[in-house]
């Protein structure tokens, strides 16, 4: 039973990981400014890398390789959001105006404060 399910599951994980990778990269090219591209890049970091690494884990079974793959994944998931946050903060600190629908390339009314306050 397991012998049949495992390869299929590996396939599914690897392929969907590849899908998210390419979609994220496509987003990096298509989206209009650095802040929106950040979301696409985050997709690669979380789902793309995550699904592929878990897929590789399933393929190799429980051994040393699995532990190392999981460590890589843990490092990625710990560091990726910090790096993303740092990019966003540095961009804002330098006065980059986030792209908004109404204002076109770079709103004229300052880079912040146009968002409604959620809770």
């Amino acid at each position: 039973m397991m012998e049949q399910v495992l390869p299929v599951l590996t396939w599914v994980l690897l392929l969907s990981g590849a899908f998210f990778l390419v979609t994220g990269a496509l987003g990096m090219v298509r989206l209009p400014d650095v802040f929106t591209r950040m979301h696409a890049a985050g997709m690669t970091d979380t789902m793309g890398a995550g699904l592929i690494l878990v897929g590789l884990c399933l393929h190799s079974g429980v051994n040393l390789v699995t532990m190392r793959l999981l460590l890589v994944l843990a490092f990625l998931w710990f560091t990726a959001p910090i790096a993303t946050h740092a990019v966003a903060k540095a961009a804002l600190a330098a006065g980059t105006e986030p792209y908004t629908l109404g204002a076109g390339e770079g709103g004229a009314d300052g880079g912040e404060g146009e968002g409604g306050g959620a809770p």
Partner: protein, 159 residues
């Protein structure tokens, strides 16, 4: 003291995992390395609740699967946005209130927000989180409220 021992144990476990050789020579090297590292950390005074958050481990085991599920959902959403021919983005900056008591809790909350695509924490002052969202309507706050509540619960009592 307890925390120092735990830190040593975790480091030594990592050493064993990465080296995976059990001859005496390597075990002695590992022991020495971990001991020096822990002593330096202890002398710097950075072995505390924040750097060795033992109290989070048990409840964190419940939080991580939930977070992974959230990440999965928002990934699918953002993928849909990117692949749609008209590229329906409506980015804006919104603010959330973090109700965690400790810096560590707020750090986990802010990182969880960034880790879910579609939202990136751009700034944090006291308990006010500045978040850039790729589509304004999608962040009505309900999910973030849920996440906020869960991270606050993760911290537990007596922070």
């Amino acid at each position: 003291m307890n925390r120092i021992l735990w830190l040593w144990g975790i480091l030594f476990g990592l050493w064993l995992l990465l080296s995976y050789h059990f001859e005496w020579l390597f075990l002695v090297f590992g022991t020495a390395t971990c001991t020096v590292a822990v002593l330096v950390a202890a002398r710097m005074g950075i072995v505390d609740r924040e750097s060795v958050p033992l109290h989070l481990v048990r409840r964190g085991a419940l939080y991580v699967p939930w977070l992974v599920w959230e990440i999965l959902k928002s990934n699918v959403r953002v993928a849909g946005i990117i692949l749609s021919p008209r590229l329906r983005v409506d980015p804006s900056i919104v603010h959330f209130r973090a109700s965690q008591r400790t810096d560590l809790g707020r750090f986990i909350y802010a990182n969880s927000i960034t880790l879910t695509p579609g939202t990136v924490t751009t700034g944090i002052v006291a308990d006010d989180l500045e978040v850039h969202a790729i589509v304004r309507e999608e962040v009505d706050g309900s999910e973030e409220n849920d996440m906020n509540r869960r991270v606050a619960a993760l911290e537990g009592e007596g922070a």
